[in-house]
Structure formats: C-alpha cells, structure tokens
C-alpha cells in the first residue's frame, strides 16, 4: 500500500469509528458531547506548531503564531468548559 493510500484508509476507517461511538446519545449529553468534540479538534495545535517550526518568512511565521494562539484557545478552553458542564452532572447524581 502506498503511503497516500494508507492515509486514505485511516481516514475512511476513522469515519466509521466516529459514526459508531456516538450513535446513541441522550439529548442531555448533546451539548457536552459537542463541546468535547470541539475541544478535540483543537489538536490542530500540533499542526500549527509543525508549520511554525519550518516557517521561514515573516508572513509564514506571523500566520503560524496566530494559528497557535487560536488553536490553543480552542483546545484548552474547550476541555475546561466541557469539564465545568460535566462537573454539574456529577453533582446531581449523588
């Protein structure tokens, strides 16, 4: 399998995993689930760091630094706000 085909296979298999994991969710959890998924795509931070590493021109560097700031806000803020929501769910179970 070529490298590109391997990446494509990973992509397709991930789609099915994504479909499977959330197929049954009560409405109560829609908001936290969306918020948690939102935080996960914050890993674009990894991509932003990669491009910042090999940025050479000022333009590239500026854009990648902005990307890092935005991605960090997405990732860190996302997980913190999701945890705050879920903390309350835990409280009422007692």
């Amino acid at each position: 399998m070529s490298a590109e085909m391997a990446l494509f296979s990973i992509f397709v298999l991930s789609i099915f995993i994504g479909f499977e994991v959330v197929s049954k969710v009560s409405t109560t959890l829609h908001t936290p689930l969306m918020s948690g998924a939102n935080a996960i795509h914050g890993v674009i931070l990894v991509g932003a760091i990669m491009v910042a590493d090999h940025s050479e021109t000022t333009l590239e560097l500026t854009l990648s630094v902005i990307a890092i700031v935005l991605a960090t806000i997405n990732m860190v803020g996302g997980f913190v706000v999701t945890d705050r929501m879920l903390e309350m769910f835990k409280g009422k179970k007692k």
């Binding site: 935080a39 960090t72 990732m75 996302g78 769910f89």
Partner: protein, 463 residues
C-alpha cells in the same frame, strides 16, 4: 525522539480521542471521557516538541515564539472557559469552534506558502478544502456567537435577492478553488480565503435563532474535517484520525440534534429561503391577556394536586434556579406532586437546561423529559412556565411555515391551568407570537423571573 516512538505515542493520543468520544456519550462516564480527551491532546502537543516533522532539528525553530503563543492562548482560553456564565456557554463553544476552524485554515495556508510549486495535487486539493471550510467555520461561528449573545437580531436575516448573492458567492468560491488547483499561487489562495469568509457569514445569516445550535454543531463537524485535511497535507496520522472522528461524530450529533428538535437539517439551513418570512411583529397586539398578582398565583398553586414546572432560558437569565427549587420544596412539603418538564432544547442548546438546573442542585428525579411529561399534562392542575415561550408554543403544531413548525413542544395546554411568568409580552427567541398567552385558562405574572418567584414563595407561605 525517533519517528517510531513519536508515531506510537501519537497512536496513544488518537486512541484517547476515540475513548473520549465514547465516554462522552454516556452520563456515567462523560467526565472521565473528557479528561481522557484532554490527556490525549496534551500528549499530542508535548511530543511534537521532540519530533515536529521529517528532518526537523531539535530544539524546534522559533521555539520561544511557539511557547509564547501557547501561553497567550492559555491565558485567553482558560479564564474565558472558567468565568463564563453557564447561560452564555453555547456561544463560547461556538467561538472556540470558530477559532479552531480559523487555525486550521491558517495552518493550511502557511504550509502551502512553504511548499509552493512542490505541493502534490492531492495536497493542494486538501489545502483548498481546509481553507474554504475553515474560513466558513470561522466567520459562520462568529455570526452564531453574535446571534446567541443577542448582539444582532436572532431572527432569520433574509434580504431581497439574498439567495442569488449566496449562490453567486458559492460559485465564486468553487471557481477560485479551481483556479488555485490549476494555476496555484498565493494570491488566488488569499482571495479564496476572503470569499470563504464572506460565504460563512451569508450561510449563517438566514438561520433563525432557535436553529443556531444545529448550525454550531454542523460547523463543529466541518472544523473536524478541516483538521483531517490539514493532517493529510502535513502527513500527520494523528490529525487525520482526530479530525475525522470529530467530523463523523459531529455529523451524527447534528442529525440527532435536528431530530430532537423535529427539524430537518436541510430545512434548518435553507428554510429561510423556502418559507415565506413570517411577519410576527405585525402591529401592536391589542388582544387582552389575564394578568394577575403573585397572591393569585400562590392560591392556584396551593390548591393544586399536581404542578409541572416548565423552566426556560428566562429562568436561567434571572438566576432563579435556587428560588424555583425553594418553591418546588414548599409545594412538595404541602403534599403537592411537583415535576419539572424539560424540553430537549430548553435553554439555548440540547441539554442546556439540565446543566443549569443541576447547578442549582435540583433533584435529578424531578427532571422529567418531554416524552414522559407530555401524557401527564391532562392530569396536571397547574403548568407553571417560567421564562419559556417557544418550547410551549402551540404554533409549532398548528401553524405550518412558522420558523418552529414541526418542533415537538411541551403540551402545557392540556393542563387545567397555565401560568406564565414572563418579563413582558415580547415573543420568544424564535420571534413568534404565542397564542397560548391569550387562552382563557392562562394567567400571566409579569416581571423578572426571580422577583416574581420570590413573591410567589412568600405569598404561598402566607396562605
């Protein structure tokens, strides 16, 4: 760090994301799921400092800038997430999603600038996809934020010829995409980014306030896919897996949400074009309503055997969760059967009201979901609606073409008495008049939800 170790740790992070989504799907494991996701994201971020990409040297170039930018992001993101009022949380999630989309678009642009003519066709296509969808997600999310924050009108914004403008913008986006793919170059790519930003705004403007959560969820799925596409450009399996997971699960979640609200996804996004804009603010309403005092409300409640409380966003805004619990406790002590009827989209988003009431320690057993509470309204003496409107509006069943038509509602009209605690006669978030307000069995008590409830509580103690 060798490539193999990097890839293995990356795989651990990817598996964490799968487990995180799995955990988040069940109430018992949700919090742990989120923490597993945070672990995976932290791991992924740490290891990239030891192996950024093929042939990169350690320490990373521009390391101080990278660390500084992360620090800035943390200093902005964490306080925002910790301090936000739970009522304003949906728009914060929208903003977080938007900046994520923006980041993905920027990453793709930078990588494209660097690769230049060396980029393979597949990489260019992935770049174009990331830039278009990332920019749409970014500007679209900002509009959803403005709508939810009520910084702009929450009604669908439809202007003359709007659909042609949108179609024109979409066609331009496609044409410029083709231009980038065929000829390449920085200028077309930046033009593409700008056009996509415009399209994002136009795409969200016609969506009515009540449907905004569905759009946020959809944009969330979009952002996931852009992350996957940029993962392809950067040859990062981790980004592909994480982005695709969010894209796929986000799509399912969007459909589930739309189903819970009784909306078709298509109708939500294009409803503003197909339906006639409903003019609900047609002149001043002159019909009479029965407004009454806290004492009368207290008496009605005192002689009821069963009371269903329907909390809405107005309750949350007034921070009246604790007062409503006090009222419920008082009624329970008098031997009255009390339940909360929770609409799936009470508040601003599916599940939002559950979060808000949980914050006030309302007993879990008293929260009854719509399907279970609806058949009981016929045996209910008083339906007490606090700061809710759209979720009990019969227009959803009786008026085809109105923006909430088809949404399942709490059928409070079957109760013997209906009491609305409202600030004013202003229509709800969806901007539609509620016929129930004029029903003879409806009593209105105007005022801030918390102030009204406090009065009712003291009146009830005096009865």
């Amino acid at each position: 760090m060798s490539r193999n170790i990097y890839d293995l740790l990356g795989l651990v992070a990817a598996v964490s994301f799968v487990l995180a989504l799995k955990g988040l799907s069940s109430p018992r494991t949700a919090r742990r799921g989120n923490l597993i996701g945070a672990f995976g994201a932290t791991l992924a971020t740490l290891i990239v400092f030891f192996y950024a990409s093929e042939g990169s040297t350690l320490p990373l170039n521009n390391l101080p800038l990278i660390l500084g930018a992360i620090a800035v992001g943390v200093l902005v993101g964490v306080p925002a997430a910790r301090k936000v009022q739970m009522t304003a949380m949906p728009q914060l999630v929208a903003l977080f999603n938007g900046v994520g989309g923006g980041a993905a678009a920027l990453v793709a642009i930078v990588e494209y600038l660097r690769l230049g003519a060396d980029a393979s066709l597949a990489a260019v296509v992935a770049t174009v996809f990331t830039v278009v969808v990332g920019c749409v997600s970014f500007s679209g999310s900002i509009v959803t934020f403005l709508k939810l924050q009520e910084l702009m009108t929450t009604r669908p914004v439809v202007f003359a010829g709007g659909r042609f403008v949108i179609a024109g913008t979409l066609i331009s986006v496609l044409v410029v995409s083709g231009w980038v793919i065929r000829d390449g170059g920085t200028t077309p790519l930046l033009v593409l980014g700008a056009l996509s930003l415009v399209f994002g705004v136009l795409f969200v403007l016609p969506v009515g306030g009540a449907d905004v959560p569905i759009v946020i969820s959809l944009l969330n799925a979009f952002t996931g896919l852009t992350v996957a596409a940029s993962g392809y450009v950067l040859d990062s399996v981790l980004l592909i897996v994480a982005g695709t997971l969010v894209g796929a699960s986000g799509t399912i979640l969007t459909r589930l949400m739309a189903a819970a609200m009784g909306r078709s996804l298509f109708g939500t996004l294009f409803g503003a074009f197909t339906a006639k804009a409903q003019e609900s603010a047609g002149g001043t309403e002159t019909r009479s309503v029965k407004s009454s005092s806290a004492e009368d409300v207290a008496i009605l409640l005192n002689y009821a055997r069963r009371v269903v409380i329907v909390p809405g966003f107005g309750l949350a805004v007034a921070q009246a969760q604790h007062t409503v619990r006090e009222l419920a406790d008082l009624l329970t002590a008098k031997g009255i059967d009390v339940a909360y009827g929770i609409h799936p989209v009470a508040g601003r988003m599916p599940g939002h009201m559950n979060v808000l009431l949980a914050e006030a320690n309302v007993p879990y057993e008293q929260l009854v979901e719509m399907e279970e509470v609806n058949p009981t309204f016929a045996q209910t003496d008083v339906a007490l609606i606090i700061g809710a409107n759209d979720v009990v509006n019969p227009a959803a069943k009786t008026t085809p073409g109105c923006p909430i038509y088809g949404m399942p509602i709490l059928e409070v009209a079957h109760a013997a008495n209906v009491i609305f605690l409202k600030r004013s006669m202003r229509p709800g978030f969806a901007g539609i008049e509620n016929e129930l307000l004029f029903d003879p069995k409806t009593t209105l008590l105007f005022g801030d939800a918390k102030a009204s409830l406090t009065q009712v509580v003291s009146a009830l103690k005096a009865v």
